[in-house]
């Protein structure tokens, strides 16, 4: 029961808080939700089926998923967030761009 109460509290009383690697921890209302970050867009000359799958079809994970958020009212960077779609718990946040991620790691 306490686990359920804690989950309800974490999702209703507290907002989702995203630790932006550049700006620090902020309310999710500063961010705009992008969508599924696992989508790989095919080459321009790929088949119709591949493009249909990439644009229109989603795994729609119930559990932890990689997704993009745009820090619209902050640094305006696109972030990749690993978040549970059941509890909204966030495991990790990193820049979407792999080179930026490398720079962040070098700095550490």
């Amino acid at each position: 029961m306490n686990v359920v109460l804690a989950q309800i509290q974490s999702c209703t009383v507290n907002m989702i808080r995203i630790k932006c690697p550049y700006c620090g921890e902020r309310d999710h209302s500063e961010f705009a939700y992008g969508g599924d970050a696992s989508i790989k867009y095919p080459n321009l000359d790929a088949s119709k089926e591949e493009w249909t799958e990439a644009i229109f079809f989603r795994e729609n994970i119930r559990g932890f998923q990689k997704e993009t958020w745009h820090h619209l009212n902050g640094c305006r960077m696109w972030l990749e967030v690993d978040r549970s779609t059941i509890t909204h718990e966030i495991k990790s946040v990193k820049p979407c761009h792999p080179d930026l991620q490398k720079i962040m790691e070098l700095k550490k």
Binding site: T12, D36, R58, N60, R62, I86, T87
Partner: protein, 421 residues
Amino acid sequence: MTKFNAWNVFKNGLNGQTGWSRQWRDPEPKENYDVIIIGGGLHGLATAYYLAKNHNIHNIAVLEKGWIGGGNAGRNTTIVRSNYMLPGNHEFYEHSLKLWENLSHELNYNVMFSQRAHVSLFHSPGAKDVNARRYNTMRLNGTDGELWDLDKLKKNIPHLNYNDARFPIMGAAVQPRAGNARHDSAVWGYARAADSLGVDIIQNCEVTGVTRQNGDIETIQTSRGNIKGKKVGFAVAGNTSRLWQMAGLGNLPIESHKLQAFVTESIKPFLDHVVVYGVGGAHFYISQSDKGSLVFGGDLDWYKSYAQRGNLPIVQDVAEAAMAILPSIGRLRLLRHWAGVMDMSMDGTFFICKTPISNLYLNAGWNYGGFKASPASGWYFADLIANEHPHKYIQNHHLERFEQGINLDERGAGPDPKLHG
């Protein structure tokens, strides 16, 4: 089942209300069914009802993981309308509205359908033109629709904010035959009527797996044992993708998002219509229930989620929209507030279709608009399951429409599920 009629009400008034029977049975699941419908919401129960009534198939099970009325059937804002424009959609929703008009008689259950008019405000000449086009298209197809100028609107709803609204109200697009119904009554009515035609409604029965043999679905594994069905229908909006993956079918053009709704304390009669306000990023719809509470809602929570609870920024957005057009409700307190999980499809339109599995049928992707659609959804889904061929109204409501480039995008919002409000 005891029928509801004046004589039975009178008789039970004299014998201390002891003559009523259960609304529906609580059967143990059998081993075999002709049709298994997964999902005991409005759509699943309506499907079972019309399968039994229109197609004479009675060996049907409806599997519900919780209890009847505990999912999205109990989490909506009860608005019924048919102001759709695209071919297929408008005929479908108009049929649904016509079924609503006779539903209380049909089910012998008062669904409290109230055709109080759906009043959609507009705030600019451009919006007026867009509404005129949509409502004229509806009229050409036999659906009712009107444009109200400011004078008529003020006469009908005098207490909107006509004085200092940030977006001054110019008039409204109105569908007089639209309105609301009582959500619990609708789902209980369908459950009771389906049960009386022999349908087994099996509650607390969560599907845990799907077994296939030679490509077809053979057995549904549930928390109450294995059940075999010759044909299987999915009607589990919110969790369609999970079932789809259990059946080994991969991805769907659907994302699950949550939508909040709100109820205030009861007040005296205040609002006679369903009022919709949407401009400048706001989205707000409100009506007054028969108990006197104001029932209203707004946008999705803007991120994918299976949690049946809402976030705070949307509470603020909806409250701001409420104050923008109905400042007089500012001192009311909220009594209840909840969220339901929506199947948001990639073009904002639903799916009633056959699937890659020959004995599996799909009913999904209802976005915000599943409640009003439920009678027609059951009607045409039952027709598809019984006759193996989609009715012409739903011939394009299949999963291949994206590849074929015939998306049914009423809003023109593009392939982003959260934008199809």
